[in-house]
Symmetry: C2
Subunit: 172 residues, 2 copies
């Protein structure tokens, strides 16, 4: 019987601010069987896309992304907030509700032609995912797929990812 | 032939501030074969200690910790900076060069009696590792081992972890 991943997602009201119902993945990650099942499902979708690398954004994207990369026999690329990566970086900016934010990857992290699965825990408005896809393509890589554990479908994040192969394990 | 993990650690001078020679693990993580070998070595040490959980601190600790947890068939617990975890937390404070900082875990993340491998990428002064061990024990868990990819032996971090089983893959 397949484990119901959704049963391990905890609703936290008013986080990070009032009026937002936060989807907390920590109970899923902390349960060995459910965590393994989530990675199995992520890998099942990823494997036919023949990725060389998995790219995840800090911090929850590191958790699923690193385990997925390990399962696939791929390398892992960390996308971080500006100033966190020690070496030479390239940066992509994305819109927030108010203002903008950025993500960086190391300039040498993606070889030309490398196939990259871009992964994050949640697909919301799609801004950060789009920025990650831009970083992959700017370095000459190929976005082999954009993959999420949770998709908040009412925010229409897929529209930002037009032209990419998009998949999520759980939809709200 | 065993891959030499050390060959994939990049020295970055003057990061995060002047005079510090930063050990950058990103080239190791980004190389599929070396990343897999690092997780294999971490798992080899961990497995006989029969962990139920792996606890890692943000952000690089999430990368090695999640892949290790997945390999071991364990759950993963995220230790985060204050305010980042959405639900009820417990907190441990540790000393910095100037002032203090804290780490939190969710209050329900570790069942009483659970065996926990406390993992981080670098053992430096040992302050954060000690705080993580305290969090495990405060929640009734058992520290099954304190594990690191890199150990900066000249900083004597092991002294902070007296009474615990400590291991690192690479020493400087």
């Amino acid at each position: 019987m397949t484990l119901d991943l959704r049963s391990k997602i905890r609703d936290v009201p008013d986080f990070p601010k009032k009026g937002i119902l936060f989807k907390d993945v920590m109970p899923l990650i902390g349960d060995a069987a459910y965590f393994a099942e989530s990675i199995r499902q992520l890998a099942e979708w990823s494997r036919p896309r023949e990725p060389d690398l998995v790219l995840g954004a800090e911090a929850r994207g590191f958790i699923f992304g690193a385990a997925l990369a390990y399962d696939l026999g791929a390398g892992f690329i960390a996308a971080r907030k500006p100033g966190k990566l020690p070496w030479e970086t390239v940066e992509a900016t994305y819109a927030l509700e108010y203002g903008t934010d950025s993500l960086e990857v190391h300039r040498d992290s993606i070889a030309a032609g490398a196939r990259v699965i871009v992964l994050d825990d949640v697909l919301a408005t799609g801004g950060t995912a789009k920025a990650k896809c831009e970083l992959v393509e700017r370095l000459g890589g190929i976005v082999a797929g954009a993959l999420f554990v949770i998709e908040l479908t009412f925010l229409n994040g897929r529209e930002q990812l037009a032209g990419h192969d998009v998949h999520s394990l759980i939809q709200y």
